[in-house]
Structures are given as structure tokens and as C-alpha cells.
Amino acid sequence: MGFVTPIIHFAQICRAMGIPVSPAEVLDAVGQMEWIDLSEEKQFKTVLKANFIKSHNDQDTFEELYGIFFHRLPGMMRGKRTPAARENLLNLLDAPADGSSGREDFQTLMDLLASDPLSYLDLLLKMQATELDLPEVDMSRFSADREATFFPASRNRMQARLRELLSKNFPSGDESLRFYLQEYLLEALPEGVQKGDGEYSHPDLPAYFRPGAARSGPANLGEVPFQHLTAEEAKAVHDIISRLAGKYKDRIIRRYSRSKKGTVDIRRTIRKSAQYEGVPMKLAWRRRLPQKPKIVALCDVSYSVWAAVPFMLNILYSLQDCFRQVKSFVFIARVAAVSDIFARHETMAAIDQVMDSYQLQYPRSAVYGDEKDKYPGDQDPEISDYGTALAQFLEKFSDVLDHRTTLIILGDGRCNFLAPRADLLGKIREKCRRVIWLNPEPEALWEDGDSEMSAYRPYLQELRPCGNLRELAAFVSDLFSILLYSDVQK
């Protein structure tokens, strides 16, 4: 049973990387080990994978972690520990299961691991992480989401913590357990760390684990304005968005199924009537799905706003199953329909194409806000003209609007001192169910300079800031309440 501890440790590390591995799954994996040939590593790995990884998205992370844990991290593998430590552990684990003292020690070890989320091995990986700059994604803003807290902490703090952990008294007061831990740690720690050598970096670790360009500024992705995201952060934000979308989708679908009753369900009514001698005392109703809303998105893609557009489009199209239809248009001064591109390609590829085309000469990397292409305003042949864009939208595309359609406009409302023509927005408003405006600028700037938000405001049912991930998530979270339950103010 020498494999139990590594499996428990590995589960801990999986959890630290945000893969939810429950104790039951660890037990299952351990239980299944007796069925396979442990000398065949492939089988061992398959069992771990089938029990720990329950989502395709996590499979790559698993491969990575598995490689590091069982192959690259020295001392992690069975048989590489000192004989004394191994024997100690084996004695512990092989103790009879009838509640004698050895069993209790094992239990204590389990408890220790389970109750202390920053247990020693977790710590160990983090020590590696200090040098390796793992992605620091703080999702604590999104309460229900699982958290991937992997902050690289300073080496000194880590060492202090490690000392503290080692001097801590274990509940059982068993010195041998501590001895084992110490032993194990010393074994498992890379040599550089043991010597206190600050320059340590493991040669075998994959490239992206190595130190990358550190970004100065706020650490919380939810708060970083879209236009200030680096390429990598933007990717992380897109990842978070797709996860959020999955969550909202579930919630929305549940809401649909719980909603109002429709026509009488004859079959179920008759079945129920059997309780009353065939008299249909109680009627059964067929559930009626409320009509799914249609969404039309109209996005300003001039240089002042474009950074926010990919994120908005990503979340709308990720949720498109929940809508009857999503159509999208982009404009600077002229409006172009881009729904076709989304129909033909996957969402992210389509967003790339949209940003590439429509007279935007931005390179593809601009989608992620690559530093050097951040202000392509000089190449911009057009300046945004909301008045003209609204007129054109009304003239050419107003047939996409009907009484079920919600128009979502993404823009800063900066008309470059051209006529805002808010009356046109009023006309558009009459053709559709409601108009929602998302403004990527902070609220304080809305009335400033050439911003015409005050002119447009009377026609809007919702006006919201949408400059960072937190604001976007808050909007989407409320979106379906707005769509399904709020009434038209005519």
C-alpha cells in the first residue's frame, strides 16, 4: 500500500491547481489500484485520471501535473525515499485495520492532510512556484466559482512557514510522524532549496512555469480595465468568461424549466385521475418554455472602445443557446453585420476575424491587447460617429428588430462633437423591446468632454459600466432578470 501517500499528495496538488478532487474520489482511486498491475505506469495513470479528472478542460493540467509530480519532482516517486522513512510509512499504512494504534496514526495523517489545505506538500509545490511564476488568477470575486489561488510568495515567507509547520505539534504527539515528514521534505525538496540557494530553478520544468514577464499593477484580473490587459491576462479573462458562461447557462436553463405552466397535459391528467376513480380532479400542465429573447449587439469598435468588444462578444456567443438568436453588428461610423462570421466559425476565431476585418487594420494579436498594438488610433481612418451609425443601422438593419429583441449597445458614446442624434435611438427603441447600453468607460467620465451619454440615457432601460471583467460578469449575472422579468417602460 505504499502508493497511498503519493496519491493523497497528488490529490492535494490537483486541488491547489483548482481541480476539485473529493476524498471519495481519492478513496475510489486507491481502491481500484488493487485491480491493476502497478508496475505498468500507464494503468496507474489511467486510474488516477479517470477518478480525479471529470472534465475534458482539466485534462491538460492533469498531464502537466502528473509529469511534474511523478517524474520531475525529485523524491516524489516511490522507492526514492530513505529506507527509514519508507519503512516508517509502510508500518503506518500496513497496520491492521481493526482500530489498533497504527490505524489511528494513519487517520491522524489523513486528518492532517485533509484539514490543513496548505499542508506540507502543497507548500512544497508553492516553493517551486516562487521561482516559476505560475499564472496568478484571483477568482475570489466570483463567489461561486472555484478558486485558483496560486500566488507566488516570497521565498523567505515560505521558509518561515515551513519551519513553523515542522515545529508544530501533531495531535497525536507522535514524534515519528514528524520525523517522517521532515525526512520526506528533505528528500523531496530540490537541493537548491535545501541549501537556501535563492537562484534555484528546476531544469526539467516546462517553459511556461519558468519566470515570465512580471506585470506591475493591480493583481486582480476582475478589476483590470480591458484595455490594460496583457495578452496572457486577456487569455485568462477569456477562460474565466467561458467558465462563467457555463455557470450562467445552467442557471438560466433551470429558470426556464421552472417557469410558467402552459397547456393541459392530457396524458398526465388521466394518469392523475386514476387516484380519483377516473375523475380528473387535478389537472396536469404541460410546461411551457418562456420565449427565449433575441439579442442584437451593436458594438463600437473605434480605438477608444475596441478592447472591451471581444470580451462582450465572447460571453454573448457563449450563452447563445439561451437566446433565440444572437445577431451582431460593429461600427465606427459605418455599420457592418458580422453575424455571418459567427455562424461560420467558432466564437474565438470569429472574434479574431471581426477584429481583423471591417476596415480595422489591427493585427490579430490586438484581440488580446498586445502591448505594442495598444493604440492603433493613428492608423484609424474613421472616427466614431454615433449619429451616422444609428441612422445607418435604422435604415439598413432595422428589420432585425422586433418586439422580442433586446438591443445591446457597447460604446463610450463619444461622438467626437458630431451630432449624437439621440432621436434616432428613440426610433430604434420603439422598434425593439428594450435597449441596454454598456459603457466601458468609468461612470465618472460619462458626462465629460464629447461624451453624449446624457442625450442617449432617456431611451435606455439599462445603462451600465462595463470596463472590466467584474463589471461584465455583474451585467451578465443580471442580464436574464432584465430580459425575462423586467417590463417595457413605454
Binding site: 498491475d37 475534458h56 436553463i253 433551470r254 424549466s257
Partner: protein
């Protein structure tokens, strides 16, 4: 009959015309040995359902299939009371009921007498078993496949939990029915919806991806024995190449097999470009995909060099 080792599983699946990887065989073996359900995910057409069917064939067990869809409920999946039969019996047995309560003077005693007979009407006799109940009450071990479980509503998952963890079903009027034999359960999903963690926790997870060219060649040659080696290689090369494009629906194994069948039916020995284009409808199921593949093939002319044009966001 059961699998006894991973090697045997691999071999038996192959005998039943299913080429599996070692990973698949390991999990099938484990699912059988430990009695855990197997949750199979992957793109459409990579052989998820086929795997379960093959397991049934290999084990010589009956296959019970539950096709999930939006709005499926317990009456469709687990059991239903046969109300009509119950009514009919009540009518037919009216005389008998009279006999029973005839001797009683007061209502309470009559009710007591009748309630003693209640079991007659809420018995297994009046239950219409649906696939799930059938699977666990079957006198012989079976293979149960819960197909496209992601299409069902989140509430339906809750019904499955009791079955999947304890292999029992609770019927309020009858009590809990324990499985006579633990069935081999496979759930398939296209991941159109993320399954709940509680359901996933109870399952072994298997993701089947598009096959590697080697495995695909093996599969095609298994299904079309005697196919010419060079011809086979070319077929797989073309499909692999098309699969690398950014398509709405990528061709999967079943489409490769269909295409091979079409080519054989056309008695082709070579696959020139115009033949590919003429038969492309077998591989691509979207108009936009057809266009894209056509343009790609025409642009490439030859079929040898791999394609790197895919847009990766």
C-alpha cells in the same frame, strides 16, 4: 461473464470489432470489476455508444438503452404505475371486493379489511418498468447505456444518483428495490452541458478523442477487411487533413467509415481530387464546411503536405 484482466478486455473488444486504446480497455475493465459507472465524453461519432454496445456483445449480456432528451422524467426512465390496468382490475374485481367487505357492519372495519388487500393493487404486477428499473431487476446481468445524458434536465440527474451509487431504486409504494446483479453502466455525453459534480463523482471518466491516424487505419481495415493498404492510407490522410481545418462539425470515425464505404461502392482504386470533392457530402455535414474544405483542397492541389492554416484563438 466478466472481464478478468486488462489484456483480456482489450482482446475481447477487438474480437467484437472495436479497436480500443489501452486507456479505454483499462477503464472498461475497471468499470466492470469495481461496478462503477463509466462516463464517456467526446465529440459526436467517435464511438461512445458503440463502446457500450461492444461491451454488451463481448460480455454476452443484454443491452438496455435509455435515450435521454430534454424533459425526460422518472416515468419515462424508471417506472410508471399502470393506472389503466389498475382501474380495469378494480372493475373486474368489484364482486370480489363486495365479498370481502360484505360481512362487515361498520365502515371502519370495512376500510380495515380493504386496506389489508391494498398490496394487491400496488404491487410489481401493476408497475411498468422503464429502462432503469428493467436494468436492475433483470435476472441476468445487463449492460445499461444512458445515452446523451447531457441532453436531460439537471433535475433528471438527481434521479440517476441513487441508481448509480447504490444500484437501487426507491418506489414509495413498494420500498427499495435492490439490483439483483450490478449492471455495467455507461453514460455518454457530448458535453453540451456540464454534468453536475455529484454525478461525476460517482463515475469513472473517459474522454474519447478523434483517433490517431494509426488507430483510424486499424479501425477502417477491421471494418473493411482486405482493403488495399495504399488506398487505406490515403483515405485516412485525407480525413486527418480535413479534420485539422476549422470546421463546424469535424468528420469522425463513423464518417470515415461511411466515406470508405462510398468509395468502395464507387469502385474507386485511386482518390483523385475531383472524386473527393464529389463525395465530400459524406464527410462534411454543413454547407459552410463543404465550401471551406473544397477551397482548401483546391488550394492545396496535392494531398501530401499537412495543413497549418487553422485559426487558433
Amino acid at each position: 461473464m466478466d472481464f478478468h484482466s486488462i489484456e483480456e478486455t482489450l482482446e475481447k473488444l477487438k474480437q467484437n470489432n472495436y479497436i480500443s486504446s489501452l486507456e479505454i480497455a483499462t477503464l472498461v475493465f475497471l468499470a466492470g470489476a469495481t461496478g462503477k459507472p463509466l462516463l464517456i465524453e467526446g465529440p459526436a461519432g467517435v464511438g461512445k455508444t458503440e463502446l457500450a454496445k461492444t461491451v454488451a456483445r463481448a460480455l454476452g449480456r443484454e443491452l438496455i438503452r435509455l435515450q435521454c432528451y430534454e424533459g425526460i422524467d422518472e416515468a419515462k426512465a424508471i417506472y410508471e404505475w399502470e393506472y389503466a390496468k389498475q382501474l380495469l382490475y378494480t372493475q373486474m374485481l368489484k364482486e370480489k371486493i363486495h365479498d370481502i367487505i360484505d360481512a362487515e357492519d361498520t365502515l371502519p372495519t370495512a376500510v380495515k379489511k380493504i386496506s389489508a388487500q391494498e398490496n394487491a393493487f400496488f404491487s410489481e404486477h401493476f408497475i411498468q418498468p422503464r429502462p432503469l428499473l428493467k436494468a436492475i431487476t433483470s435476472p441476468d446481468p445487463v449492460v445499461l447505456i444512458i445515452d446523451e445524458v447531457d441532453k436531460s434536465d439537471p433535475e433528471f440527474e438527481a434521479f440517476l444518483l441513487e441508481l448509480l451509487s447504490d444500484y437501487q431504486i426507491s418506489i414509495p409504494e413498494l420500498g427499495t428495490i435492490q439490483a439483483k446483479h450490478v449492471p455495467f453502466v455507461a453514460l455518454t455525453s457530448n458535453s453540451s452541458r456540464e454534468m453536475s459534480d455529484t454525478l461525476k463523482r460517482r463515475c469513472l471518466y473517459l474522454y474519447i478523442d478523434y483517433p490517431s491516424p494509426e488507430r483510424e487505419r486499424e479501425i477502417v481495415s477491421l471494418k473493411f477487411p482486405g482493403i488495399e493498404e495504399r488506398f487505406l492510407e490515403k483515405i485516412v490522410a485525407v480525413v486527418t487533413d480535413i479534420r485539422n481545418l476549422d470546421l463546424k462539425k469535424k468528420p469522425c470515425i463513423s464518417e470515415t467509415l461511411d466515406w470508405t464505404r462510398s468509395l468502395l461502392a464507387l469502385q474507386a482504386t485511386e482518390i483523385p481530387l475531383d472524386l473527393i470533392i464529389r463525395t465530400l457530402n459524406v464527410l462534411c455535414k454543413h454547407r459552410s464546411d463543404l465550401e471551406l474544405v473544397k477551397n482548401h483542397l483546391l488550394a492545396k492541389e496535392g494531398l501530401s503536405n499537412p495543413h497549418h492554416d487553422k485559426i487558433t484563438p
